[in-house]
């Protein structure tokens, strides 16, 4: 019963984190970059939104500015990577560290800023989980439609090819570096947008919000894609799968908490989920490809023999 009571909250929070996972999907799956900026940019989104709300800014404007701030963090990582030649993973770590200081200064040196649902008109809050589910759902639908349209434009298609095959992209006149910056900006903008929603939902922005966010995002992606790839491996279905993955993740999370797992272990739980989803296909492949390799070897040797006779 307690589990069922926790469901609407789990779904609402799952939707918000699912939105963040869509941002991670763009960097990790489409651009093929493990972008660790995310841990910082989700917090930036939360901080910017909370501070603006506390200053009396309208909620929509706060959310839009949060999105913009997130996009800037992505641009920063992108420039570190493409202009200064820093490996993408390290570029993300550096931005993440920079953002810790930036976020602290946004919060005015405090580690937490409260968002009062009575003083501000919020888009969603945990006091009304059904409402939160509807609002978060609508925002996600809007984001998915925008992304769907974008990734089928001339620019969007080259963004996909940039991650999929940079050699081919350059040969076809695609500015791969610019595309990486654009992609990281969109990805982190979406991540910050989910941070802004999270701050409203929880009623606060905390400097430690978002620690380990990348891992939750990856967990949502792996859970989601394991199902959606079996249904139809196209873009929109994948995105819906990722959202579903976020929800499933939070249901598991709530379930485990109710089973009595100490909350101290929850981050480890996220890591284990990601670990399993990455390791299982690898181990399966490893086992499979040693067998296959032997076959290929014998075939290619046979071919070589045949070719040698021809040449002689």
């Amino acid at each position: 019963m307690a589990f069922l009571n926790a469901m609407p909250g789990a779904v609402a929070e799952g939707l918000i984190w699912g939105l963040m996972a869509i941002g991670v999907y763009i960097s990790y799956k489409i651009l093929d970059i493990a972008d660790l900026t995310v841990d910082g940019s989700i917090c930036t989104g939360a901080c910017v939104c909370a501070v603006l709300l506390s200053k009396g800014t309208s909620v929509w404007l706060s959310v839009i500015v949060a999105f913009g701030a997130g996009a800037l963090t992505g641009i920063l990582t992108g420039l570190f990577h493409t202009k200064l030649g820093i490996p993408s993973i390290l570029a993300g770590i550096l931005t993440q560290l920079i953002l810790y200081s930036v976020n602290l200064s946004i919060l005015g040196g405090k580690s937490l800023i409260a968002v009062d649902p009575r003083a501000n008109k919020l888009l969603l809050h945990m006091s009304n989980n059904q409402g939160a589910v509807v609002t978060a759902g609508l925002i996600i639908v809007a984001v998915i439609i925008c992304l769907w349209l974008f990734f089928y434009t001339e620019v969007g298609l080259t963004l996909k090819s940039t991650g999929d095959n940079p050699d081919m992209s350059r040969a076809q006149g695609v500015n791969v570096n610019l595309n990486k910056v654009i992609g990281l900006a969109i990805a982190n903008g979406i991540v910050a947008l989910s941070g802004a929603l999270l701050a409203q939902y929880k009623g606060s922005a905390n400097i430690n919000d978002g620690r380990g966010a990348i891992v939750i995002g990856l967990a949502a992606i792996f859970i989601g894609l394991s199902v959606s790839m079996k249904i139809k491996p196209n873009f929109v279905v994948s995105l819906i799968g990722v959202i579903g993955g976020g929800i499933v993740y939070y249901i598991i999370y709530n379930f485990v908490v109710l089973l009595g797992l100490k909350t101290d272990y929850l981050k480890m739980l996220s890591a284990i989920i990601v670990l399993l989803f990455l390791a299982i296909p690898y181990l399966k492949n490893e086992h499979f490809s040693t067998k296959k390799m032997l076959q290929v070897q014998t075939i290619s040797e046979a071919k070589k023999d045949a070719g040698g006779e021809k040449n002689a």
Binding site: A171, Q172, G173, K303
Partner: protein, 265 residues
């Protein structure tokens, strides 16, 4: 049309791995030239093509395409002039994207890409017709992900992509070397058709001396980063493999004791 002057490139200078790949190479191509390039391992064939494509900057020398000095132009900007097919069939296409999507990206090579629909309806019809000319049955598989195609099919699609927007210069870097003999012959046949029908200026590296003689109107042979043999027209048509080996020995000053150096990679 293509004018290369005193091109030099040394990899890993000042280290034990120092390797002079191009040592003052000069080459001029006329419009419509179909040039085959042969030479042993490390002769600088691929280095030459990569230099033209702008994969890295040369140490010295200039490259002009249609009178434009492209020596300092980044790779993606030079792509405006060039169609390229790589040795590795995986390199020329985007595996996770549909055949039509790959072609549509190639159809916009050298143009400013905008926030408008990436593939238009009439385009699909056009792609269908083009794919039909390959005679590989790909015309009915526009929405298939390229990653599901065989190496030969991918190489044929890459050829279409390279020639879709009539390139000033087509660069083929041993594009049949990774294919089985039957598929290689098919891809070479498609290549010849596309090049002659569209009158494309072409540089084609091959490891097969027979192909080098049969195809194209001019043949160059490279050795130690330089062009040592350059034959064209009637002289090339009459050429035999033995004569070619003789020419090489005379020009390079080194005896080619093992012809497999050239015959195979």
């Amino acid at each position: 049309m293509l004018k290369i002057t005193n091109l030099q490139k040394t990899f890993n200078p000042g280290t034990v791995n120092e390797k002079t790949a191009l040592s003052g190479l000069n080459l001029t191509l006329e419009n419509g030239d179909f040039v085959t390039v042969i030479g042993g391992n490390g002769a600088g064939k691929s280095t030459l093509l990569n230099a033209i494509a702008g994969v890295w900057k040369p140490d010295f020398g200039t490259i002009e395409i249609d009178g434009v000095d492209v020596s300092n132009m980044p790779e993606y900007k030079r792509a405006k002039f060039l169609g390229r097919v790589f040795q590795d069939p995986m390199k020329g296409t985007s595996p996770d994207m549909e055949i039509a999507e790959n072609l549509s990206i190639a159809a916009r090579r050298g143009t400013k890409r905008k926030l408008v629909w990436g593939i238009r309806k009439p385009e699909r019809e056009h792609y269908k017709e083009l794919l039909a000319t390959l005679e590989l049955g790909l015309e009915s598989r526009l929405s298939t992900k390229v990653g599901l195609l065989s190496g030969g099919q991918r190489q044929a699609v890459t050829l279409l992509m390279a020639t879709l927007r009539h390139p000033q210069l087509l660069l083929l870097d041993e594009h049949t070397a990774a294919l089985d003999p039957k598929t290689a012959a098919k891809v070479l046949e498609i290549t010849n058709k596309l090049v002659t029908e569209n009158n494309l200026t072409t540089l084609m590296i091959t490891h097969n001396m027979h192909d080098a003689i049969v195809y194209g109107n001019r043949l160059i042979m490279m050795h130690e980063g330089r062009i040592v043999v350059d034959v064209s027209g009637e002289e090339k048509k009459q050429l035999t493999i033995n004569q070619l080996l003789g020419l090489f020995e005379k020009a390079s000053g080194s005896e080619l004791t093992d012809d497999k150096v050239i015959l195979s990679q």
